[in-house]
């Protein structure tokens, strides 16, 4: 699905990614773990196409296509979705209007007409139920005054509505209590298929009990220093991140 080779990236002149290699195939779930400052969020921003980040070396290929010259919205049209660690508040734009705009923008990019209103309504109902989101919520301004759990559930609601090929979940578990975590994980698991892929970025192993990865990679100082199966996550949980620094 996505092949990243020797990716180097910097922000405001500071080097954060120092040669990332990652190959994610359709149907797979990869977890990326690492201590704070290792470059986890940078990696997700770079894949999603945030303009503040500059790729200085290396390539990213989505289904064989080079992503480097493609804008953030075009990457979304090609099927990339980023669940933000800190979802942004957009006062005045309701959750419903936002998701309608996003869906129709994607349809337009593929030469399709707007989704008919009743189909849209049905889909919204279905997906909000999946994430246990109350309908009253949908008319609130996007992320404004939402709790951490509400924000993250809203991110996965958007993922469910947009049906991306490659989802990157950036610390989706941060700030969530166990109940919210279960709802979010359940939502993500329902969306897993053999045709899409998910990259779960997390600091803690806890989320991976619920969203079970096929592969776990450890990021340190902007490089992937070790890869393994889900057992690697348990090993990190037991030992912490210090022993990783010796491998780097």
């Amino acid at each position: 699905m996505i092949t990243i080779e020797n990716l180097h990236a910097q922000v405001e002149g500071k080097k954060i990614l120092n040669g990332i290699d990652l190959d994610v195939k359709p149907g797979e779930v990869h977890a990326i773990m690492g201590p704070n400052g290792s470059g986890k969020s940078t990696l997700s921003s770079v894949i999603a196409g945030h303009h503040d980040y500059e790729v200085t070396e290396g390539t990213m290929l989505l289904e064989g296509e080079d992503l480097s010259e493609i804008s953030a919205e075009e990457r979304a049209h090609k099927g990339i979705f980023l669940s933000f660690q800190y979802p942004v508040e957009i006062p005045g734009v309701s959750v419903t209007n936002f998701i309608k705009t996003a869906i129709n923008a994607n349809r337009k990019a593929h030469g399709l007409e707007n989704m008919p209103a009743n189909e849209m309504l049905k889909k919204i109902r279905e997906k909000s139920a999946l994430l246990e989101i109350d309908s009253r919520f949908l008319s609130r301004s996007l992320n404004e005054g939402f709790s951490g759990g509400e924000k993250k559930r809203n991110e996965i609601f958007q993922m469910a509505m947009l049906e991306p090929k490659l989802s990157i979940l950036d610390e989706t578990d941060s700030g969530l209590d166990i109940d919210a975590l279960k709802i979010v994980a359940n939502g993500v698991n329902k969306l897993r298929s053999k045709d899409n892929a998910i990259v779960v970025i997390t600091h803690y192993q806890r989320l991976l009990e619920y969203i079970v990865p096929d592969f776990v990679h450890v990021l340190f100082d902007g490089k992937i220093v070790k890869s393994g199966t889900k057992d690697l996550a348990l090993e990190l949980e037991a030992k912490g991140y210090d022993w990783i620094k010796e491998l780097a």
Partner: protein, 438 residues
Amino acid sequence: MDFKEKLLASHIAFEEEIDLTDPIHQVRIDSLKTFEVKGFPTRKDEAWKYTSLNTLIRKDYALFPKAETSIDLQKVKKYFLYEIDTYKVVFIDGVYSPFLSNTTHDGLDVCLMSAALTKAKYRDLINSYFNKIANQEDSLTSLNTSYTREGAYVYIPKGTVAEKPIEIIHFFTGEEKSLWLQPRNLIVVDQNAQVQIIERHQSLKEHDVVTNSVTEIYAHQDALIDYYKIQNDLTSASLIDNTYISQDRNSNVKVHTFSLGGKLIRNNLNFHQKGEHCDSTLKGITILEDKQHVDHFTLVDHSQPNCESHQDYKGVFAGESKGVFNGKIFVDRLAQKTNAFQQNNNILLDDKATVNTKPQLEIFADDVKCSHGCTVGQLDNDALFYLRSRGIPEKEAKALMTYAFANNVLESVKIPILKKRINLLIAKKLGVNLGLGL
């Protein structure tokens, strides 16, 4: 002869058309003297620091409208709130149009200033209200007063709720290549009465038209006034709007100003609270592009205790447009327990757009709550990226964000069809696709 000289000289021709024995006429003469002494404001005047009238007054204008030109109703229907029943006072190039209007004397008076100024039955009312709150030291206001003859006159008697909104509309046909008009409106809402008024200026084709209007509004005890100004004219039209409002105790007056089109607009909006427990609301949405210029100069004069005022002006500026906001709040020594809130937030969409915003609070009482917040900024980059990461193209994402920014001022619009219209207008201006039930 420059334009000021022309205005002074033409007054003689004006006098030939009116009744010189009318006591109002002395007011006109005195006002002309004030204008003669002060002249047009310049950039040296603090209140006009950011807004220059030079380009406007360098031109030559016809001062007296031609005889009534007629307009096909179908052509102008869209400028009315045609979906609902309203009273209307309509002027074409400054001349009253009976055909397009819908005046009344049934339970309330919605009619013409020219009638109110000349007929005996209005004599007392005119003596009590005419030119009593307008700022007589202000030169443009005085200029208008010196040429006062026509405009809208509204009187709502005690306890009456005007069941239909009143539309005051000025159309400009372009028959005169350039026109300087000075309508004068008088709105009196008696005790416990209510009214909604919509005022609009609209050119039907490009030509130089300048309107220097004065509106005096009196809200008696317990009165409720909801006033909407729609300023969405062509880029050849300019407007200097001088509105003076006097509020008696317990009255509630709201003025919404939508500045979406025109060459140069100057809104002088003045609230004078003369009784306790008054509530004053001043709100505005300004969306400009190209070389448009809008200046909101507001004054809320809290002279009595226990009153409230709320100001919320949002501005979006593209191209090389210019926005100015000067919000003066005066709190008298006696005006304890005043709650005065002022907010002016602006977004610059392009490098060459500029905004000058200045809160001006003069507070002489010590038990008050007064807040002010004036901001100028650009669209939040993180929010933009968030929208783009969902596939919303940059241009649409910017439009959606600016729409959301400006839109909340609409929440307090009480006429549903008007709210919908302005909503659509704003969305159209910002290029937001509204096929989504917004």
